[in-house]
């Protein structure tokens, strides 16, 4: 059997709508048999902080408000993708170091903290989406 196609997503935005879209695409791709890596870097880590998520103090517009009211939140989408397919979520090591954050500060969706070199190894020969 052929190797599963790979999809790697670079998420660098803290806007809830983009975080939701990346999480949705990642989880549906995983549920469709793709091997998915989601690399969360820079400001995109902010919505994943427990303190942000608990207060729902996301950077968002009208769309984000509706998404929160009506749909599963991005972390639930990611949990579903992990349960039903191959989806790994990685936090950017540089961004974590610069801000002094540890895994304890975040919602429990991250599989590991990695650097750019490791990310490119994971992404090699697959498709890369940037959001």
């Amino acid at each position: 059997m052929d190797r599963a196609p790979k999809l790697s997503i670079i998420l660098a935005s803290e806007e809830l709508e983009k975080v939701h879209a990346a999480s949705l695409m990642g989880s549906v791709a995983a549920m469709s048999g793709m091997e998915v890596s989601l690399f969360v870097t820079m400001n995109a880590l902010i919505p994943f902080l427990k303190k942000t998520a608990e207060k729902q103090s996301f950077k968002m517009g009208e769309m984000g408000t509706s998404l929160l009211e009506k749909t599963d939140r991005f972390d639930t989408l990611l949990e579903n993708g992990k349960a039903l397919g191959s989806l790994k979520v990685y936090a950017c090591a540089l961004a974590m170091d610069v801000m002094g954050w540890t895994m304890e500060d975040f919602l429990p969706v991250f599989d590991d903290v990695i650097g750019v070199t490791a990310f490119f190894n994971l992404a090699q020969d697959g498709q890369i989406l940037t959001m």
Binding site: V28, S32, K70, T71, D72, L84
Partner: protein
């Protein structure tokens, strides 16, 4: 014919697809699962998933403002 029906009305994309996938995992080859959804996006996306995963789309019916999408599990 329909072995299991899932009522996913009120759930937005990708909720109905996810419910279908969970049921397909538990089903036996040859079983037909029907998912109900009032989400137009899911009515378009579920058949795409079925084709991609090489299962069989039995029907997509629109009745009383919602969709009934039936899928046969054709392989493990």
């Amino acid at each position: 014919m329909i072995k299991k029906t899932i009522d996913a009305r009120g759930s937005y994309c990708p909720g109905p697809l996810m419910e279908l996938i969970k049921a397909m995992r538990a089903a036996a080859v040859g079983d037909v699962i029907e998912v109900w959804s009032n989400d137009a996006g899911s009515a378009k996306d579920i058949p795409e998933w079925v084709n991609k995963m090489k299962h069989t789309l039995v029907h997509v019916q629109e009745t009383d403002g919602f969709y009934k999408i039936a899928v046969e599990k054709t392989h493990p």
